[in-house]
């Protein structure tokens, strides 16, 4: 299910994530929160070129550095 438009993949470091929810505020296009406040990542975390900057911002604004933007899947 790889998207040719994909420029990166968002992954959560689950033990590091404390459910602060900043990522969902920065990038609601991809990230919503479950009933306990932990991120739900849509589309397997695929990030398109249009959302790349917001995805980077979501990564850098996580207070626990629990969100990572990995290289695209082939």
């Amino acid at each position: 299910m790889t998207d040719s438009n994909e420029v990166g993949v968002l992954r959560v470091d689950w033990p590091a994530c404390m459910g602060r929810g900043v990522c969902a505020e920065v990038l609601p296009e991809i990230i919503t929160l479950d009933e306990w406040g932990y991120p739900v990542i849509a589309g397997g975390g695929a990030v398109s070129a249009e959302l790349r900057d917001l995805a980077r911002e979501a990564v850098t604004s996580c207070p626990h550095a629990a969100l990572k933007l990995l290289p695209p899947r082939r």
Binding site: V12, W14, P15, C17, M18, D34, W36, Y38, K68
Partner: protein, 438 residues
């Protein structure tokens, strides 16, 4: 629930019955023989010398493991050849590989690694030694479960014998656990790194970057015993048992409701009816607490085969089969296992820490025929926890619950309507009613 106290309990040494087998458990027929290096060497060649193909290079071992389709026996069934090839190609002068024998059997219903430690520890260690020689490394770790002290005693003795016999490998023994998730690969590497032995996020496969960033060839104890058998017998010898598509044997841990676990070795292709007898017609939990339910009668037409099981929507996992007693409701068993698994969350990943207790509460309500239980809530929670943790503990728990809902749809519907038909049909005289705990 009747007699469900065994759910989640690690069997003590005297609750495990080890049946002698054709290959890995052959020495179980002569107690103590597999634990004695000299006796073991009468059957199995010294890895320094090798079997029919001599001492194996990494390339040849990869080729041979691929030829017999060796799948990891820790539960996930990952191809051993792929792991070994990755470790070999990641090896550099400054990134010397490490070999890890994972005997940290955290699954309560499993006792196969325990059985190997007690009856054939040297075959397990032979496999690890073969890989170390192939990868030109000397560091081998053995990770053992704290809640099964007999495993440590057995490996300590075996390693002492090998050192005395002049084997120049650096065997290092570490205990980990207790707990269900302590045997997870990353948790084991954490424990070896001196940190709490709990799962962490893996950004790269262990074979590329594991212990201290070094290529780490970590496999289950039975996988290593299979490697030892392969090196000792050669590909043709190994193929003498099993089927052309799935050569060799596999270990199974069978538990009925009497708190005992029986460990058997069977050749792939053996009908379940031969393994379980009449129990093959009963509903069974296959693949352990992270496994899937087989409906009544499903196993009687199937063989012990990873491929056949997969085609039938089942998973052999680490070879655990639990057959509930006729008076045990599978929904209630699932609830008891789910509650146990929720309690075994390492508590580090939010969706698992919050989601598994919620899921267990919902399945528990269903088992008690609480009409407030909701089918859609169970499905929702199973979905929420899946794929959202450092390890597959939440995924495995969700798999178990989903399979209960699918396989026992009639029973689930009856429970939602307030009736447990198993409890009704096995309702007992008032004198024993006190034994019921719900």
């Amino acid at each position: 629930m009747v007699g469900m106290s065994h759910i989640g309990a690690i069997p003590s040494a005297d609750q495990v019955e080890i049946r002698a087998g054709a290959r890995l458990l052959a020495s179980a027929a002569y107690p103590g023989s597999g634990s004695e290096l000299a006796t073991h060497r009468r059957t199995w060649p010294d890895p320094r010398i090798g079997g029919p193909s001599g001492r194996l290079s990494a390339d040849v071992l990869v080729e041979q493991a691929r030829a017999i389709g060796l799948a990891g026996r820790g539960g996930a069934g990952f191809p051993f050849a792929t792991k070994l090839a990755a470790a070999a190609s990641s090896a550099r002068l400054l990134r010397r590989p490490v070999v890890v024998v994972n005997a940290a059997e955290g699954e309560p219903a499993s006792a196969k690694d325990f059985a190997l430690a007690l009856t054939a520890p040297h075959l397990v260690l032979d496999g690890a030694a073969v890989a170390a020689y192939a990868l030109r490394c000397t560091e081998i770790h053995i990770v053992m479960p704290r809640e099964r002290p007999a495993v440590r005693d057995a490996f300590e003795l075996a390693v002492a014998q090998r050192r005395e016999a002049g084997e120049r490998l650096s065997w290092q023994l570490t205990e980990t656990g207790p707990g269900f998730v302590a045997g997870q690969a990353r948790a084991v590497i954490e424990a070896l790194s001196g940190r709490p032995g709990l799962p962490v996020t893996a950004w790269q496969p262990e074979a590329m970057s594991g212990l201290k960033g070094r290529p780490t060839l970590l496999s289950n104890a039975e996988t290593w015993a299979q490697v030892g058998a392969l090196a000792g017998l050669g590909v043709d010898g190994y193929r003498q048992l099993g089927t052309p598509r799935e050569p060799g044997t596999t270990l199974l841990s069978l538990s009925a409701s009497d708190d005992r676990v029986e460990v058997v070795e069977v050749a792939y292709g053996t009908p379940w009816a031969d393994v379980l007898g009449g129990d093959a017609r009963r509903p069974a939990l296959v693949g352990g607490y992270h496994g899937t339910w087989a409906a009544a009668g499903a196993l009687s037409s199937l063989a012990v085969s990873r491929a056949d099981m997969r085609d039938a929507g089942l998973t052999l996992g680490a070879g655990v089969v639990v057959v509930p007693a006729p008076d045990e409701c599978p929904v209630a068993v699932t609830a008891a296992v789910t509650a146990y698994l929720a309690g075994e969350s390492a508590g580090r990943c939010g969706p698992c820490f919050n989601g598994l207790p919620a899921l267990a509460a919902e399945v528990g309500a269903l088992a008690r025929c609480n009409t407030g239980a909701s089918y859609s809530r169970i499905a929702e929670l199973a979905g929420i926890v899946t794929g959202r943790g450092a390890c597959a503990h939440p995924d495995g728990t969700a798999r178990l619950v989903r399979s209960m809902v699918t396989v026992f749809d009639d029973e689930v519907a009856a429970h939602l309507g307030g009736v447990c038909r198993v409890a009704e049909s096995s309702s007992r005289p008032p004198s024993t009613a006190g034994a019921r705990d719900d």
